[in-house]
């Protein structure tokens, strides 16, 4: 059974310049126990998609259907939603602003632990320290008593991960949890995330392709508010079908670091036809006119992509 099923999700923000279509008809399914990586262009709507699931977007128009274990999340009232958030679904936010600047870090984590039923204050604090140790904080006891502004960038990131994992959720939405970590700690965090998610589901939003490769079972690639490719991790990396995905991989330092030409598309005046066509290096006539559907590639089952020329091998 799928733990999370997103159907035809649309998220739009009205702004004075026009309607920002941040997420466009996204369909996505996350199986129980699955780890799904979400990679793609900056500003393509990954964070918005993640926050839409937990309904933490302000000023947004959200349409479609999000089902979490059979519950239609968009129809729940705020109190029920709050109960899910932090207990069953937890979010590791992208921004360190999600740490409260005027509370000690250990207390924040302890509070989150207490919320899910660990009643004893002392115990909660102890568990908070353990949670911080687990993400590679040296002297966790000492640092639990400090405020976020005393933390270095990487320490804040680790604190946020500890906070997100503290409440023992079923579904974790992690938004770029490995940014700003050095290689050793990153390896440790990757290990930790893999460990704790053996019996949980994970939506792992990231720019760190190697972390995604190590953690995720499947990868979804987003571009301009849409999913342009989904498939098993090895499939995606070894055999990327969509020109955007390929371009992305070619931008890695180890692959030559060649940026995709052209500028990121506007989410207000969305490009016609295939949204990637102004930047694609092999468009055909049809590409500018018709919008390609997300279809299964003939050559590899379970590997979906949104391009007219996917089978041109």
């Amino acid at each position: 059974m799928s733990i999370l099923a997103i159907n035809d999700l649309k998220v739009q923000f009205p702004t004075p310049e026009g309607l920002v279509k941040a997420v466009n008809s996204v369909d996505l399914e996350l199986e129980e126990g699955e780890r799904l990586g979400m990679i793609g262009e900056t500003g393509s709507g990954k964070t918005v998609l993640g926050l839409a699931v937990v309904r933490l977007l302000s000023g947004a128009e959200v349409e479609g259907n999000i089902e979490y274990r059979g519950k239609k999340l968009l129809l729940l009232d705020e109190a029920e939603m709050r109960k899910l958030r932090g207990r069953e679904i937890s979010v590791i936010f992208q921004s360190p602003n999600s740490l409260n600047p005027v509370l000690k870090v250990g207390d924040q984590i302890a509070e989150s632990i207490r919320l899910v039923g660990c009643s004893n204050r002392q115990d909660a604090k102890k568990k908070a320290v353990q949670a911080m140790e687990a993400v590679g904080m040296p002297d966790a006891e000492l640092w639990a008593d400090r405020y976020p502004h005393q933390f270095s960038g990487g320490m804040k990131e680790r604190a946020m991960i500890a906070l997100g994992l503290a409440c023992d959720p079923r579904l974790i939405i992690a938004d770029e949890p490995t940014k700003g970590l050095d290689a050793n700690i990153k390896a440790q965090v990757v290990e930790l995330i893999r460990d704790v998610t053996t019996d949980k589901s994970l939506l792992f939003i990231t720019h760190d392709l190697s972390a995604a490769a190590q953690i995720c079972d499947r990868i979804a690639v987003m571009y301009c508010g849409e999913i342009v490719e989904v498939g098993r991790t090895e499939e995606i990396f070894a055999n990327p079908l969509h020109p955007y995905t390929e371009g992305l991989f070619r931008s890695l330092p180890i692959m030559g670091m060649k940026a995709i030409r052209g500028a990121s598309p506007s989410l207000i005046d969305i490009p016609s036809g295939c949204r990637f066509h102004p930047r694609c290096d092999r468009p055909c006539e049809n590409c500018a006119k018709a919008h390609p559907p997300l279809v299964e590639a003939e050559s590899s089952p379970g590997h979906l992509m949104r391009c007219f020329q996917h089978d041109r091998g």
């Binding site: 990487g154 931008s251 940026a259 030409r261 290096d281």
Partner: protein
């Protein structure tokens, strides 16, 4: 350009300030004009603190900083303010680097307004030029940080920094909030600034591949001290300090991904000859020696 001697900064915390963190400890080094010094080291070793000290955004406990022949720690408030725009910092988290209550337009134009002597129209022109340069479009002008993605915010930060027209930039993890393609783009932009405007950089990053491409020299930091400095290739080929060795070896741990990708690349290249189009990037897999040239030739 910048010379540092015995720079030290301690933080005190806990009850009665008993606990001491030696964030930066007796650090000395120099960076020549137009040179890029890469700064690497474990999380929490003091890189960000060092960057802030260099710009005198926080006061050191002791030490000397000479910027372009001037001992900046002895400057008066007002003289310091006049000097400030010449040195800028790109901060680690783009989400916290911008005033949450200011729209991009305001953020980018603030340094221009402070400079003075520009008409409103001139400021607007300059802002749109900068926005285009960093890859933002006019639709982003009126938005506040929480209405932009992490990567878009990072570009606003970059535009704001460029607006001051600095000679020295401390870039603290400038690429980690971006997708790899935009990373390559911004990397190209930074290299271009370095080349065309002879800007001096202190380049802080955990991504050693990028540090290797960007830096002329690399300094390795460990628990507040600089433990090794040397020309980039020297450091990567023959790391001396154990900490450096550890860092360099863990950098090549991305093996799994590389393997998958390489296999994929080879198969795609052999499987389908791609049609060439005007302006498309060069397709040859590059070799490491010519990397710098290749990047600068990058795609347009």
């Amino acid at each position: 350009m910048i010379e540092v001697e015995g720079l030290t900064r301690h933080f005190f915390s806990g009850r009665l300030g008993k606990e001491r963190v030696e964030a930066v400890d007796e650090v000395s080094f120099n960076i020549k004009r137009g040179e890029t010094l890469g700064l690497v080291g474990g999380s929490g070793c003091g890189k960000t603190t060092l960057g802030r000290l260099l710009l005198r955004l926080i006061e050191p406990t002791s030490g000397r900083i000479i910027f372009d022949g001037v001992d900046i720690l002895h400057l008066k408030r007002r003289e310091m303010r006049r000097l400030r725009p010449r040195m800028q910092m790109i901060f680690q988290d783009p989400d916290t680097s911008l005033n949450p209550r200011m729209a991009s337009l305001e953020s980018i134009s603030e340094p221009l307004k402070l400079k003075g002597g520009l008409t409103r129209a001139e400021i607007e022109d300059e802002v749109s030029r900068l926005m285009e340069k960093v890859g933002l479009s006019p639709e982003h002008l009126g938005r506040r940080p929480h209405q932009l993605s992490g990567g878009q915010n990072q570009r606003v930060v970059l535009a704001r920094v460029l607006a001051s027209n600095p000679e020295f930039i401390v870039a603290d993890e400038p690429l980690s909030a971006l997708d790899v393609s935009v990373q390559a783009q911004i990397f190209g932009l930074l290299s271009e600034m370095k080349r065309d405007r002879n800007i001096t950089f202190l380049f802080i990053s955990h991504d050693l591949n990028i540090v290797r491409l960007m830096s002329d020299r690399v300094a390795v930091m460990d628990r507040g001290k600089i433990v090794e400095v040397g020309p980039t290739e020297e450091i990567f080929r023959h790391p001396l300090h154990p900490r450096t060795r550890e860092l360099v070896s863990s950098a090549s741990m991305d093996g799994q991904l590389t393997l998958m990708l390489k296999e994929g690349l080879i198969s795609t290249v052999t499987r389908r000859p791609r049609p060439r189009m005007g302006g498309v990037c060069d397709d040859n897999p590059m070799d490491s020696k010519s990397s710098r040239l290749m990047i600068n030739a990058g795609c347009r």
